[in-house]
Symmetry: C2
Subunit: 337 residues, 2 copies
């Protein structure tokens, strides 16, 4: 809490024996200043531990060097990695990030949006908690916006989403390559596009292999371990010869594993299990450790930051960009021997 007056460019200029104008130009790498004077100014700045007042800079340049991260939710596990990726991409450069949590409330979102615009952020990343489409913030914003995870309903906006369809395809593909033929799909709330898309991808891959879903249909339910357990019991009852389960989330997969374990059904030798999300605390600690699909969320955040930077530099984009997911192989799947 030192209270000494902060050092300004004037002080630097005085110490270096030049005017503030040249001091400014020297520090900003403008060419019209002699090398020797520049060195003198830089030295003076270092001696005084000068750091330019960003308000004065922003005031004149009309750029704040900040972006806003507007998240609908910090509770869930999906927004955090995205924020991490975005923060990392910006924070290691010269831009600082404002964090705003709307807590699922539209009013609060509006409040934060207004606050961010008042602070003259140069850009905005809107990250959703669910991959379902969300309302656009509008077209008349003074700054570029990138929507991450939850796409905007306006195709003129730029949205970045994970490839849930591809993820479903990938999961089933892996099971088929493991020699499985009687594959069931237990997943969460059918009101989530995540559930629908993953199921669609799964069915698509099954179809192209000439296979049908074990159990006859997708088992929609809830995103919980309890549902995973309940559905698995029903599944074993109705379709005892199932040899693989694709769970729509790692939580559900934990429930599946739990019941299989209880029933003394060997995993993966008799039934293979694959999850979704790669939620480490659940997947890595499972018995056996869970093969699953990673959404590459941190990469999604990083890409969002790149797209936003591009837009801020005058290269806007629009439409929905789908980013790839990847398979994480652990011990709950293996080829049939």
């Amino acid at each position: 809490m030192a209270a000494n007056r902060p050092v300004t460019l004037r002080d630097v200029a005085r110490l270096a024996g030049v005017s503030v104008a040249t001091a400014s130009k020297a520090l900003n790498g403008q060419p019209q200043v002699r090398a020797e004077t520049r060195a003198r100014v830089v030295l003076a700045a270092e001696q005084l531990a000068f750091s330019p007042n960003t308000f004065a800079q922003s005031l004149i340049t009309q750029r704040s060097g900040t972006v806003g991260l507007l998240t609908s939710d910090l509770e869930g596990r999906f927004s955090i990695p995205i924020l991490m990726g975005a923060e990392d991409a910006f924070g290691s450069g010269q831009t600082s990030v404002f964090l705003c949590d709307a807590r699922g409330d539209t009013i609060r979102e509006k409040h934060h949006l207004r606050a961010l615009l008042t602070r003259r952020v140069d850009g905005l990343i809107v990250v959703g908690a669910r991959p379902d489409t969300r309302a656009s913030l509008g077209r008349d914003l003074p700054v570029p916006v990138v929507y991450a995870y939850a796409p905007s309903d306006d195709p003129a906006d730029l949205s970045l989403v994970t490839d849930n369809v591809g993820g479903g395809r990938l999961a089933v593909d892996h099971l088929i390559r493991c020699g499985r033929r009687r594959i069931a799909h237990i997943t969460g709330d059918p009101g989530y596009s995540a559930a629908q898309d993953r199921a669609r991808g799964a069915l698509d891959r099954l179809d192209s292999a000439g296979l049908e879903l074990a159990g006859g249909e997708v088992w929609f339910g809830m995103w919980s371990e309890a549902w995973g357990r309940g559905a698995t019991r029903m599944l074993l009852d109705r379709c005892p010869d199932v040899d693989a389960v694709f769970a729509g989330s790692d939580e559900i997969a934990r429930g599946v594993l739990d019941v299989l374990h209880e029933e003394r059904i060997a995993v993966p030798s008799r039934v293979a299990v694959i999850g979704f999300d790669n939620w480490n605390i659940l997947a890595a600690n499972a018995r056996p450790p869970l093969t699953t699909v990673d959404l590459n969320l941190e990469q999604l955040g990083r890409t969002a930051a790149q797209r936003l930077s591009a837009a801020m530099d005058g290269h806007p984009a629009s439409g929905t960009e789908t980013l790839p997911v990847r398979l994480i192989t652990r011990d709950s799947t293996a080829p049939l021997s």
Copy 2:
């Protein structure tokens, strides 16, 4: 992306037919302006959707209206709720928060600190990933700092920590009130003060009840389900008449429950289990749902924000403040019948 020139106070003043000086005073609630003129100015501001340029304001008032949230880690689960609490406390007011993630790297932390100071934040909250003491940022910072979760090693700083000793005491107290007498404690890495403190609290409460720890000593190990499972097997082997287990984390508790379930030992009727952390995904989905201790992290974040606000208003504090934890009763504990 409308490109029309942003409206300034001059525009408002012109429309209202006053000078910028009175316009400023009118909008800022200064008394020396007639009610009728004030109304005219406010109306004009609304019509033009005026929002003051915060850079100009900050430049003159020497206050940015922003704070920095400097976290050592976003991976873990502990920093997030703290950030949420702090963001909520500030964000609903007029201050915006910068988010900086050091990713466990001192270099990066220094970089972020410099960036935040350059942005002239009015204050700083440093949140750690572990409750162990961390190095102070120093005494010569131009803004007040509050350390949350991980206390500073400098007693002149203000640190806010959770009451791990009290939590251990609380957990064992609950088990004793449930009529348990042969209580074991399985916990994580002894290198964590969290493990040591909780164990200390547990032993303290046992002592005051004249009890000894079942198994003879604290079972230190790792913060994982696997360790929970392994330790429980050893425990049952060495001490088959145990009637309660206090797990040092919910992860460990999950492992404990798993083995008890496997061994067909009824929970809570024969053995009661209590966890720590109230990590919802683990605790609520456990079989049976897990009684545990909640760290009140969001409240910790909120309190940190309050303390920081006080310090920014000229009421600094120092020392370490310990915040209470609370018991979450679910179904893994119950009175002996």
